[in-house]
Symmetry: C2
Subunit: 505 residues, 2 copies
């Protein structure tokens, strides 16, 4: 008879066993994933201080790489906020431990990527990782650590404290890993290029194993506001969240409870909602029964009077920057950009921005060139399943006189306090109906403008042809008529030509 | 100045916060995911006993569904192995606890789906789940439980023990959840249909909220062998795995260690490998230094003398069954099936089976109809990113005289002791190079056969036309010649017609 064995595994063990989930599928994807995860942590760390990021990435052959040269040493250095010393071991050596678990716009979402990179390095090379960090105070802390995967705990092998004479602030992470840089190279370079495009206030430096230097210099010091945390929006709550808030609240009336723990509920809205759902304003939230909590959640979803989420906590690119980026990278003949008003899914605010570009350097390849961004990072893998691709493919482009064989590029940027990624590797975004709708509406707007451009261009070219005919034959007719009339001076045909012109030039 | 708060979250909390990862993206996907996860657990539970599965699924409106009717009660009942009573609470109320963490072919992979379904039910309805199970012994155990998400622990609300008079064996899971059955319906019905197709020894019964009964009756009692666990193959090991094996081993020499802990290493192979990597056969594995462990792993990947993984632990569908399934469901004019020899990725054995079908009931839709299966379950979402789709789209079909506007369906089944899913929701399979290659080779084989069929058909239709012309004109010519010759009896043109025929019919 079959025997079934039950066991409990740690979160680190789970992701160790299922590395494909986090993007560490093969040596090429692994090295890409490691670079991007650490770069994104660095950008977040600088932005949380509203300091223009300086990120330095060096990938070199490890000393013991041997002939095959598939073992690398990765070093990522930033000028970010730094990690407080007591958090360093867990922040780098424990899965599901981190600072990313609050609702604000940031690149990291899962508190997992950096650790997965270190974990992957460890299981392929068995070398410890080195983390050096300072919050800019008097000391610099250096840890040498590994991950105890079965227990999901950091193993500290060495710890040193240095005097921070120069008041350096930032974090350096360095470790070895197996990989295949030369297959990953095109994606890694594309990643830096597109990241620079949407983070024009960052300095990005990348030195590859051959010693080639790629430098993306900031073009502005202007920083977006540091992302802010938000309270949950009532439309997005579930019973679990309500229970947690009820558990921790210090407020003793529903009227206060609603105002203090939810996004955009003021006194008037709170009163209206309580009236709508027939709950006494003085009711103590801690006294709600299970059934009442479920009812509260349902009523919150049903009530039409809540204000939409405030997007002041979001930092979109802005139409200007998006346009500049597209113009710089693609040098198109035409570009239209559009930023939608803030919207929300499951209570999380989000903003969609799109650009459509035509002609110029854009290649004709039988389908549109799609660039996807989420919270200012480019998404380069698994495009086909992304909500943006789904929307683009399901649009009726013929309505806009657009066909896939035209040289067209589309860029979509989604920023949100919580991007609904489908994979832990942050490859693509789930098909949430609210997000789908916003992307579709944004695209329709720019598609109409592209259509106008194309129509105008067609008219102009037709007009040019028409005028060409006039200007070819009118002089001949004029000359002939002059001769016929026995006159000597040809009439002024410019006047005539102007009179048949339909549009200004 | 910005404040960064660090926190540790439980695995349950992680998946609660990131439900999109597990397929619980919207009310329609959520209800689909809940049904499939429980059905797959049930099929696994019966198969592990080599008993033809009987799975009964009932989805009904919950009592408190109200007018909107978006709250359902889901009940899934099976005749499987049953869960030992002391494991019931954790097996259903604790994430990353389960019986799926061993390398054998089974539908479940992550030990997560069933709990996610229950967790989703809990956060949308706040109702406990009911689990009833018996291993067929004298007692039946009934638990009412919820999940403490923050601590990732089951909360037992009620526990009862009943006498098992009728020696019932199996498991019943029942809970409430919010969802949108009517949007999910097409996918759910498709799911049952395709599941029945590749599990012809299972009885599947589904009662939907309107009381409609869908019954898929088994057509055979013949069961595949119960899946077997395998040892890790040396090509797939990493340092972590080696360390774990060294930690638990009771063998004191490398020669024994290799033979006892790895797949397909016998004494001769072990000796050859140790000689190749210059390790003494009598070396105690527990005495290997870190550096030596890393070297051991590298040598294992380099050594060419290991036997490929043995696929006796796998249970493919078989060409016959795959063909029968395709013929039954699609009623095509032509079908070719092919099963590849076992192969391996990262040390996990796998087998690819494909079918290509043409004409008949297959719709023409401008692209191929693709059916994907993994370990005998259909994959219905996120097709575009799946390795099968990637291979199909990158093939040069023109070589086989095939164009996308032909009525063509392709089915791909991958079975493995570990399917490399890209998402926790098991929507699609990662693009591992070894798997990609096997699919491509399998498809080339059947594509050639399709090409031969199409060429033959074209010849035949041309021939038919040609004969048609002969048979139209020959009688007239015969008649005319007869008259001309003044004879009365027409000559026998059948003989003539036979002589111009090129191929037999």
């Amino acid at each position: 008879m079959a025997k079934t064995t039950f066991e409990e595994i740690s979160a680190a063990d789970f992701f160790y066993r299922n590395r494909d989930l986090a993007g560490f599928t093969n040596p090429s994807r692994a090295i890409f994933a490691a670079v991007r995860e650490l770069v994104e942590n660095s950008l977040d760390a600088a932005e949380s201080l509203k300091i223009p990021p300086d990120v330095y990435v060096r990938l070199s052959y490890a000393d013991d790489a041997g002939e095959e040269r598939n073992v690398y040493r990765l070093r990522v250095e930033d000028n970010g906020i730094g990690v407080p010393p007591r958090h360093i071991p867990s922040a780098f050596g424990q899965v599901l431990y981190g600072s990313k678990y609050n609702p604000k716009q940031q690149r990291g979402t899962f508190g997992l990527g950096g650790k997965m990179a270190i974990l992957y390095g460890q299981i392929t090379t068995h070398q410890p990782a080195r983390v050096i960090s300072s919050t800019g105070k008097s000391k610099i802390y250096m840890y040498k650590l590994m991950i105890d995967i079965q227990r999901n705990r950091p193993l500290i092998l060495d710890r040193r404290v240095l005097i921070n004479k120069e008041q350096w602030r930032g974090t350096i992470v360095e470790f070895s890993l197996e990989g295949d840089y030369f297959r990953a190279m095109p994606k890694i370079l594309e990643y830096f290029k597109q990241t620079a495009m949407v983070n024009p206030y960052a300095n990005l430096t990348f030195v590859d194993p051959k010693g080639r230097l790629y430098k993306f210099t900031r073009i502005t010091e202007k920083m977006p506001d540091a992302p802010k945390e938000t309270l949950p929006h009532p439309y997005g709550v579930d019973v679990e969240l309500l229970q947690r808030l009820i558990h921790v609240t210090s407020y003793r009336s529903m009227l206060e409870f609603l105002q203090k723990h939810f996004h955009r509920i003021g006194e008037i809205t709170a009163k209206k909602f309580l009236e709508f759902s027939i709950i006494s304003p003085s009711k103590n939230p801690k006294k709600l029964s299970h059934r009442e909590v479920v009812r509260l959640m349902r009523m919150m979803k049903k009530f039409k009077g809540f204000l939409p989420p405030n997007a002041s906590c979001l930092s979109p690119l802005g139409e200007e920057l998006l346009k500049a980026g597209v113009l710089k990278e693609l040098q198109p003949e035409f570009v239209a950009v559009h930023q939608r008003k803030p919207s929300a899914y499951a209570g999380h605010p989000f903003i969609v921005e799109v650009a459509i570009a035509y002609g110029g350097e854009i290649p004709k390849k039988g389908s549109f060139l799609i660039h996807r961004f989420a919270n200012r990072i480019p998404l380069l893998y698994d495009e086909a399943s992304d909500v943006s691709t789904i929307v683009i493919n399901s649009m009726n482009w013929r309505r806009y006189k657009v066909t896939p064989d035209m040289p067209i590029a589309i860029a979509v940027h989604i920023c949100s306090t919580k991007i609904p990624y489908k994979t832990v590797g942050k490859e693509f975004i789930a098909d949430r109906p609210e997000i789908r709708r916003e992307i579709a509406n944004a695209l329709r707007g720019v598609a109409r403008r592209l259509q106008r451009f194309l129509t105008r261009r067609e008219h102009a070219s037709r007009e040019l042809k028409r005028l060409d005919i006039f200007s070819q034959y009118l002089p001949k007719i004029a000359k002939f008529s002059t001769q016929l009339a026995g006159k000597e001076k040809n009439p002024d045909i410019e006047k005539l030509l102007r009179s048949v012109k339909r549009f200004g030039t």
